[in-house]
């Protein structure tokens, strides 16, 4: 499962980054690193890009770039 598969409002924890993806560098630099918790907040029209809350910041990311971020759903509460 990747960030691209999350629904609005869902929380998840980053499991791994797919370093074969061309955007993986960028993604990691923006702070998407394994172990971090994130939440998908909004989706733009056509469901793309997503806005994600991460490390206290809001980051807009295209679905295609989000595909390299593998996550597991966080337990609700």
């Amino acid at each position: 499962m990747t960030v691209a598969d999350l629904n609005s409002g869902q929380r998840a924890i980053i499991k791994d980054i797919d370093f074969s993806h061309p955007s993986s560098n960028r993604v990691v630099e923006y702070g998407f690193t394994p172990g971090q918790e994130l939440q998908v907040l909004n989706k733009s029209i056509f469901n793309d890009p997503l806005s994600v809350s991460l490390r206290g910041a809001l980051i807009a990311i295209r679905k295609n770039d989000a595909r390299c971020i593998e996550v597991i759903l966080a337990n609700e509460h």
Binding site: R26, V27, E29, T33, S44, R55, G56, L58, R62
Partner: protein, 674 residues
């Protein structure tokens, strides 16, 4: 690039930091400059350099740099930015680096600070946005952070000057002694970044102070507590700004988001006309009064004609539209300061990417409404080369502020006194420009193999800054300096060309002796003399050679000459018309007089009216499309590294402008609108 008193031996201090971390604000504070600060990642696109304000007593150059989030370049352009940091081709190696980091986003912003320190630069870190962190009831233990990073840290709000002396002292003490930095380019891999992030997360736990919990306790207990609290996954500090999240629920709503976006953009365009109309009359009247004053004091000589018509008249007709340009800058400024622009980029990333553009094309396109030149430079923030070139290609189709006087005049001619309608039509013009640009992008994208032959990874990742109530004083200051810049840039060109056109229309000044002085009053006689003088002038002789090209558009040599002059600056069109139709001294204001003259003007040698609904509409279409700006051509050549794109633009845009103007004029005539 602005270069102020750059001397060879001066020390160099470079400001480095992630986008939106306060570099430019700090640069302005230390140097006394007024560079634009914007609540949008990617507002600074060039290195700029200045000396420190004298009062600080630091004899060094200060350099502001474009924001980067890490030392790994993601694109050729970013590589240049980062290479220039190590050693700038003009300014050399930095003696000291000041890294700015947003305290409310410490774990992300320390990444760059850490990389810089590890590369061996002499570094100090300025923590900004402590006020935002305090809103979340946190603070940072800067002493502890300083120990852990092994570098001097100072908390500072660059928007205020409180505590500036401490900062200055730290800078000074770091400049003393051995300033030779031994920076080496280390290869940073993905693993390194993951590693640094892990370290930073540990550091963050040690330095974050929870203001709610730590206040009353023993510092050691507090510190132990910190580590416990922050370790929890749902820690407060990981939560984004609450208000921002709530506003985003509306502004980034899946459907409403796009709707609001379109509404905001259309409101911007319409307000240009609506808000400006009350002020315009005022400006207009005062300029006319000034012109009349000159004629009254100097009498009816060639030099009073030169001053009142050539200079005041030529420049004045353009000045009349300054209020509209100011309002455009003002509205843009408010949007920039609010934090909405990044949202706009996100909302239209998908639609734009279908046309081969990128969400990051949005801000360059939007600034294209002010002026194409900074807009084309702003396209540098687009990493993908194909998308960047495509954005540059279509920017000239955005109706820039230089076209406002032209549209303003023609709309006032077409719909006299109807401000509401003119405002609507003006936004229609803007929107049509955008739609045409998107069509062009779509077409080129389909045949990209022939036009733009590079493939890069296309991506869109952008930080969405916290919303802020725009600081009106700031916006007004920015608007003012934009307006001054506008006048400084356009003014001399307009005046020069007004003079040239005045000369060309005044001389050789063949005194016509065919006019008998028997009938008619003095006013009509001087009018006859004037029209005789113009039709024998040098301008007429030049203009008549291009008249065959103008006739299909229903226009004559006078408009032709004015159109040629627009290549210097589009506004010249209006000033040159004012000269061609000799706006003479009247009680009416200047633009009213010009419009009256335009109404009566006939194509020379015929009985056909020159400015009709059809021909004016044709002119508007022409101005919407034609690439008539030498500076735009030059900057496009520079930014794309060759003549290919600007020449393609020139041929395609100016060619289709002529063609579509022709279709408009004759189409309208065909359906009976003359």
């Amino acid at each position: 690039m602005s270069i102020d008193t750059v001397k060879e031996k001066k020390l160099l201090i470079t400001l480095v930091g992630p986008p939106n971390s306060g570099k430019t604000t700090l640069f302005n504070l230390l140097s006394g400059k007024k560079h634009k600060t914007v609540n949008y990642p990617g507002a600074t696109i060039e290195y700029s350099i200045s000396s420190f304000l004298e009062q600080y007593g630091i004899n060094a150059n200060l350099m502001d740099s474009p924001g980067i989030i890490s030392l790994i370049p993601a694109s050729p352009d970013e590589k240049v930015t980062i290479d220039n940091l190590y050693i700038h081709p003009e300014f050399g190696k930095p003696d000291l680096i000041i890294v700015t980091a947003d305290a409310s986003q410490l774990s992300r912003h320390l990444l760059l600070a850490r990389q810089i320190i590890d590369s061996g630069f002499k570094t100090i870190v300025v923590l900004t946005m402590n006020d935002l962190l305090a809103e979340k009831s946190f603070s940072i233990d800067d002493k502890e952070l300083s120990v852990l990073l092994n570098c001097e840290i100072i908390k500072f709000d660059p928007r205020k000057s409180d505590g500036i002396n401490t900062l200055i002292d730290i800078i000074k003490s770091n400049l003393n002694g051995d300033t030779k930095t031994i920076n080496k380019r280390v290869r940073i891999t993905d693993d390194d970044i993951l590693c640094i992030y892990r370290e930073i997360e540990v550091i963050e736990k040690h330095v974050l102070i929870d203001l709610n919990k730590d206040n009353h306790e023993d510092p050691r207990v507090a510190k132990a507590n910190r580590e416990l609290v922050i370790a929890g996954a749902g820690s407060m500090i990981k939560l984004p700004d609450k208000l921002t999240v709530n506003i985003d629920k509306i502004l980034l709503h899946k459907y409403w988001g796009l709707f609001i976006f379109i509404f905001v953009m259309s409101l911007m365009f319409t307000s240009i006309f609506w808000l400006a109309s009350p002020v315009m009359g005022l400006v207009d009247d005062s300029i006319q009064a000034l012109g009349n004053l000159v004629t009254d004091t100097f009498g009816n000589y060639w030099y009073s004609d030169l001053i009142s018509k050539g200079i005041i008249g030529g420049f004045g007709v353009v000045l009349v539209f300054l209020p509209q340009i100011l309002i455009l800058f003002f509205v843009l400024g408010i949007l920039e300061d609010s934090g909405y622009l990044a949202r706009g980029a996100m909302i239209i990333d998908r639609p734009l990417s279908m046309l081969g553009l990128n969400g990051r094309s949005f801000v360059p396109m939007l600034s294209g409404f002010a002026c194409a030149i900074p807009a084309i430079m702003a396209a540098r923030t687009i990493q993908n080369k194909r998308e960047r070139y495509l954005t540059i290609f279509i920017i000239p189709l955005m109706s820039c502020s230089a076209r406002i006087p032209v549209y303003g005049l023609l709309l006032a001619f077409l719909f006299p006194g109807k401000y509401f309608l003119s405002g609507l039509i003006l936004s229609l013009i803007y929107v049509t420009g955008v739609i045409i640009s998107l069509i062009v992008a779509g077409i080129i994208n389909r045949y990209k193999k022939t036009f733009l032959k590079f493939e890069d990874n296309s991506s869109f990742i952008m930080e969405l800054p916290v919303y802020r109530v725009p600081k009106i004083t700031n916006v007004i200051k920015n608007t003012y300096s934009n307006a001054v810049q506008y006048l400084q840039k356009a003014g001399p060109t307009i005046i020069t060309f007004s003079l040239i056109i005045w000369l060309l229309t005044y001389f050789p000044n063949n005194a016509p002796d065919t006019i008998s002085k028997e009938n008619g009053n003095t006013a009509s006689i001087s009018k006859l003399i004037e029209s005789e003088r113009i039709s024998n002038s040098y301008a007429a002789q030049i203009g008549k050679t291009i008249e065959p090209v103008m006739r299909p558009l229903g226009l004559d040599w006078r408009v032709g000459v004015s159109l040629i002059a627009t290549f210097a600056a589009r506004e010249v069109f209006v000033s040159s018309l004012a000269l061609m139709f000799k706006v003479t001294e009247t009680d009416d204001n200047m633009s009213a007089t010009l419009i009256k003259e335009m109404k009566n003007a006939k194509i020379s040698g015929t009985n056909e009216y020159l400015f009709t609904t059809a021909t004016s509409a044709g002119l508007i279409v022409f101005f919407m499309l034609a690439l008539q700006c030498i500076s735009t051509i030059a900057i496009t050549k520079k930014e794309t590294g060759g003549w290919r794109i600007p020449i393609l633009q020139l041929i395609i845009y100016t060619g289709s402008a002529y063609l579509l103007a022709f279709v408009t004029v004759n189409g309208l005539r065909f359906i009976g609108i003359n």
